[in-house]
Amino acid sequence: MASARPNTTGPEPVVILDGASKSFGALRALDHVDLRIDPGECLGLVGHNGAGKSTLVNLVTGQFAASEGRVIYPGAKDHRQAGIRAISQEGMLCPNLTVLENLQVVQRDLTGWSWRRLAARRIGAALDAIFPGHRIRPEMPVFDMTLAEQQMVEIAIGFAQGAHPARLVVLDEPTSSLDASISAQLLAHLRRFCAEGGAVVFISHMLGEVFEVADRIVVMRDGHIIADRAAKGFTRQGLVDAMGHVADESHEPSALRIRALGNRSDAILRTPEGVEARKGEIVGLAGLAGHGQAEALARFYLAQSSDWRSLAEPAVVFVAGDRKRDGVMPIWSIRRNLALAALGHLCRLGMVDRAAENALSADWQARIGIRTPDMANPILSLSGGNQQKVLFARALATTAAVVVMDDPMRGVDIGTKTEVYDMIRHEAAEGRTFLWYSTEMDEILNCDRVFVFRDGAISAELEGERITEANILAASFEFGDAA
């Protein structure tokens, strides 16, 4: 493995991670990682959700400081001077600015009267070099451009000439909105860039692309680097196997739990994407985060619930994963938060029946184990896990036949998880249907049927004993060669 010392023989590395760790609260996203990236290297970085890829990238690009250990940029005082650039997945352009103005936001040496000319030259040169034949003018406003063109601009900004030339460019799913020919141009440019002494970290769910461009592949799992060797040393299947947990005794085979759910044609719901579920079934939506699962759930839920005349009893209820954004009412009490979805039948003559509300919340406090001395306390006095339980109770307290869950266990401790799994299984046995999007493998393995999403569409439907980590991983990553 890489030595932690900067002064080894050979060319000086661009960046060295020396026992770097990063924790978010109790969660250790990155655990004592050693990594060294040399000039001219093209590193493929693969791993499933929560493996620590983005945390690693954020440490390398200086967005996060390491909780433990060090990140060293030999010969430079910080990541900017070291020429480290990041091209992220989530649109880092300002849509109200033009292409060249977006370069001004990132680069510091565009000053003086003729900065526009200089910026236009830099971004134009980068676009010409990476995407010959592109039709992007530097004066074009970003909001007028297609998603692919915006992605091309973002990539070009990452490679554009600047005060500190790019020495290491990190690309996180750069080809997700590019078509095959543009992707091929990018991959060719990456190889050229590395041949000229630049370094690249390339993250993609398209394993074909990773093999095409990377000369070294790093596999991550649970915050550790579990494999780091030349790309030639991997086969595609070997790579997928490496991403999964090799020995997983804790998982009881799903086949043991197969329940009588009736014929497959008895589906009580079906979404446009093709997700379907029978009464009492727990249906999992798996795949890498951001491949359309949350959108599919939201579309289904809104189609069922957004109605001018809202029914007293909703047919579908929603359990939020992003508690802050679409879950808790932050200034309300625990009780009110819990009773919210069931208010329809707690009302008498349009007024909330306090006694019924109290009874309902006391009942659910006991059933789901919300740890608080008083349900009248503010919801924010609870720990994250207990807040999540309140959101579960809110949904389960209704008579809705379908429960939609949008990655609800994000940042929840293992004890709460186990309790909630039991609750879900119990409710499913009583005939409720669950649509469960999760980024965590052990949750998906709890499902009766699993739909794996890739690029906004279903890439595999697994049932019973075919629900295995290996099958889900295989369906999450694209095997085909990049054209």
């Binding site: 967005q63 849509p95 600015l97 977006n102 936001v105 990132v106 565009l110 900065w115």
Partner: protein, 306 residues
């Protein structure tokens, strides 16, 4: 190449000008044009100030009270004690910058902060000038009431405001970074820039334009009053939107904002020329606003379909 977003503001101004000239041909003269657009100059300055705030994703509900305070300082203190007067004006700009920093650092809603500040500005204005009065510094009146040959002062002032604001906001690197704040805050902080500093700067720029608005107003009216510019809060917001700006996303146009301010002022004169009773004028002004915005919506929709 003309920005298509500017087409509608320009068109609505042209229609209004034509309507006014048709109703009152005598307005088609040096003096007439100056009278029509005179009072638009402070409104245009306040609108540019509001535009800078809207550009960074906020809204300023204290604009009218702040411009009134500036007018009081300019009329009551600046003529007698210029040093103190200038120091107070500079202090007002610095306070604006501090508000911007506070809003960003504590993640406060600007609408609440500025609403609260409007009472402070209003109170300070009453303290400085309890009853309407004061006087305008002679040099200020001389500038505002100057009679340059050929083109009236009101037009020269409006064009210069638009030009300066355009250069500062749309062309300079500094303006680009401020607009980036409204476009994608995360991109700005990811690029390693201090969003607190940038928002403070945006508020300082707005403060400077608002100070100029208050001074211009005193230069025209030659006296101050604690309630002199309360209408400016809503007028400035309407002017920004009329000029093609949007409430979110940092999409604004300084030239459009000035044109919007001119259009709003002219709408008032137009209604007077129609001999509409003053009781109905505010409502009618609102109707004109709705008309223009509805037209804009239709244009947008057509654009989207195309």
């Amino acid at each position: 190449m003309i920005n298509p977003r500017l087409l509608l503001p320009v068109l609505s101004l042209a229609v209004l000008v034509a309507a006014v000239f048709w109703l009152q041909p005598r307005a088609m003269s040096y003096v007439g044009v100056n009278l029509l657009f005179n009072l638009a100059v402070p409104i245009a300055l306040a609108t540019v100030a509001q535009m800078v705030i809207i550009m960074v994703g906020d809204i300023d509900l204290s604009m009218g009270a702040f411009v009134s305070l500036i007018a009081c300082i300019t009329a009551a203190i600046l003529p007698e004690n210029p040093a103190l007067g200038w120091a107070m004006l500079a202090g007002c700009v610095l306070t604006y910058a501090a508000l911007g920093a506070l809003i960003e650092a504590r993640q406060l809603p600007a609408i609440v902060v500025t609403l609260g500040m409007s009472f402070i500005w209003g109170g300070a204005a009453v303290l400085i000038l309890p009853s309407p009065g004061g006087s305008s510094p002679a040099w200020l009146t001389a500038i505002m009431k100057a009679k340059p040959p050929l083109v009236p002062m009101a037009i020269i002032a409006s064009v210069s405001i638009a030009a300066v604001a355009h250069l500062l906001i749309m062309r300079s690197g500094f303006g680009v970074r401020l607009r980036a704040l409204g476009g994608n805050l995360r991109a700005v902080s990811r690029a390693g820039r201090s969003t607190v500093r940038l928002r403070a700067m945006a508020y300082a720029v707005a403060g400077v334009f608002a100070v100029l608005a208050g001074m211009a107003l005193v230069g025209l009216t030659t006296s101050g009053d604690a309630n002199i510019a309360l209408r400016y809060t809503l007028l400035s917001i309407a002017g920004v939107i009329l000029g093609g700006g949007e409430f979110t996303g940092g999409r604004v146009s300084p030239i459009g904002a000035v044109i919007g301010a001119l259009t709003l002022t002219l709408a008032g004169s137009f209604l007077s020329f129609l001999r509409l009773s003053p009781d109905w004028q505010i409502g009618a002004q609102g109707a004109i606003l709705i008309l223009v915005l509805a037209a804009r919506l239709l244009v947008r929709r057509a654009e989207k379909r195309a």
